[in-house]
Symmetry: C2
Subunit: 304 residues, 2 copies
DNA sequence: AGCTCTTATGAATCATTGA
DNA sequence: GTCAATGATTCATAAGAGC
């Protein structure tokens, strides 16, 4: 009954969303289901598609040399459903084949650009607790690509939503502004304590970089999530506002969908595996039940 | 006279190399000079060529759309001079052009594979102190690629040489090492953190991953190094043994050459800028002088 | 010696202006 | 219309100074 605790601590019910966002999930092939989705309707697509030759049981194991031609019809549909201001974040990493890194990711980027995608940025997900192991000619692989694609150069980005706490230096530095800071500032702004430094005042937060340090999910719930909840959460905060629509065409265990719900974004999920689909649907229903219970609690509270 | 201090503290001269390794440096165009180098003679090539449109003053700033065709003749020669067991580490990062990441690095990888290179691995250099800045649609760029290419699948790799301390105790111990301790240790063993410290650390060592966390060089003397000394040092230790040959066809300020000297590897450097070349040559001569002085000191000590 | 405090700056990127 | 030059923005790190 964890939620009762939460309820007791959070008596201001007005702020709690009640069925405000919805999660539409579909079971089926991504390329086909996508055709039923309205164009220019999605604010953020974030997904971790099956990597080549992996998860054979689920996706039939796309061979590395067929990967690009398999993905291109999907990325074409994604381009269609995405809003002009939207963003597509693709989590992917090439696997090692015969001692070499495979090149399908690079080929995919080049082909997607031909489709009209802009390859705006490549974030690095540094996996702090990557899989252990030892090989004679290779170290542990501790990073994955997070490729950012856009439809236009004018996409939405809400940088303030993902600012991180600043280091301790800020406090001391602001107390005693160094000579260099003054000089630099004066030379550029030319007016004593310029704009820059006043921006620093009272600021405890800094903008992040394009390197994300996240651990992989370690809680084993029988099914492994492609990425930790923080990963889609970070991009959802960065590229969408509340009540925007987030899509994951390879939903898997539903990490993206649950991150969206938590952040009050509508979401669309597609999953080909009946098993995964059922599990996510069940979890969504549990959440709905929780919300209904909360409605009862709300009535009880207002009766007091 | 800093080195006299070091000498006084370090009377055991036997461990110090005396002109054991040589550094051959050339001033000229890399593609041309390379043709004079013997085939199958180099154990490790590590370099940071000018990035597209970068370093215009030195290299004329190769445009992004000409980059691949500019580099391919060089990489062909590098393939020739590298030993079959050798490794080529290429430090590079694509720049942003018109809001998009440029694709020349990916195209280069694809073309180099056609030349016969194996694209074995991609290390990430996480630049902890990356360039500041703020833009409406982009975060600070905090990483660069370190592409590993090989001639054959049977390349030399000495993983034990780059093992890292494990656990918090080791970290704080390392952090608290005084400067003189580090210098003394380096000068004696010539291989990063040597005997003394590894004794303190005991057996608590782990293999690293393919993500390197290094700051860019700070407090430099007028000329900027492409990468910090630790970067070539790490790869030199990983891919070569003492008295092997290390090459940097874009020597720049000579970071790779000095790292090789310090680790007792022979080195070959090529640099097109007369200015950079002179500076490196001068520094090499200073080191030779230092070694001669040391010989005198040795005589003095043994007379006691 | 071991702290804290001070100082300097780095393969950057975007919007704007001027040729 | 293109293209080159300029100004504005800004944080983590290390070396050095001071106690």
């Amino acid at each position: 009954m964890t939620h009762f605790k939460i309820l007791n601590k959070e008596p201001n019910w007005d702020n709690i969303p009640f069925m405000e966002v919805k999660s539409d999930i579909f079971c089926g092939d991504a390329a086909e289901i996508l055709q039923t989705i309205e164009g220019n309707s999605v604010d953020l697509i974030i997904t971790s598609p099956p990597y080549a030759d992996q998860r054979k049981d689920t996706y039939g194991g796309i061979p590395a040399n067929k990967y690009v031609e398999w993905f291109l019809p999907i990325s074409r549909e994604l381009l269609r459903v995405l809003k002009p201001t939207g963003t597509f974040v693709l989590n992917i990493k090439e696997r090692v084949i015969n001692g070499e890194r495979s090149t399908y990711v690079m080929e995919l980027i080049l082909e997607m650009r031909k489709q009209g995608w802009l390859w705006t940025e490549e974030f690095i997900w540094h996996k702090k607790n990557c899989y252990p192991g030892k090989w004679p000619n290779r170290f542990r692989d501790a990073w994955e690509r997070l490729l950012q694609f856009n439809k236009t150069r004018q996409f939405n980005m809400y940088q303030e939503a993902v600012m991180v706490p600043m280091g301790d230096w800020a406090k001391t530095r602001l107390k005693n502004l160094s000579k260099t800071d003054r000089i630099r500032d004066n030379s550029k702004v030319g007016s004593g304590f310029g704009k820059n430094i006043s921006n620093w005042l009272g600021r405890a937060m800094a903008y992040p970089t394009n390197v994300l340090h996240l651990a992989t999910e370690c809680g084993n719930k029988n099914h492994s999530a492609a990425f930790p909840l923080e990963l889609p959460s970070w991009f959802i905060k960065l590229f969408t506002e509340e009540y925007d629509t987030v899509m994951d065409p390879f939903m898997g265990s539903g990490t993206t969908i649950f991150a969206a719900e938590k952040l009050k974004r509508n979401s669309i999920g597609i999953e080909i595996s009946e098993d995964y689909y059922q599990r996510v649907e069940k979890e969504i229903r549990v959440k709905e039940l929780y919300l209904f219970e909360k409605e009862d609690d709300y009535a009880a509270v207002s009766n007091k």
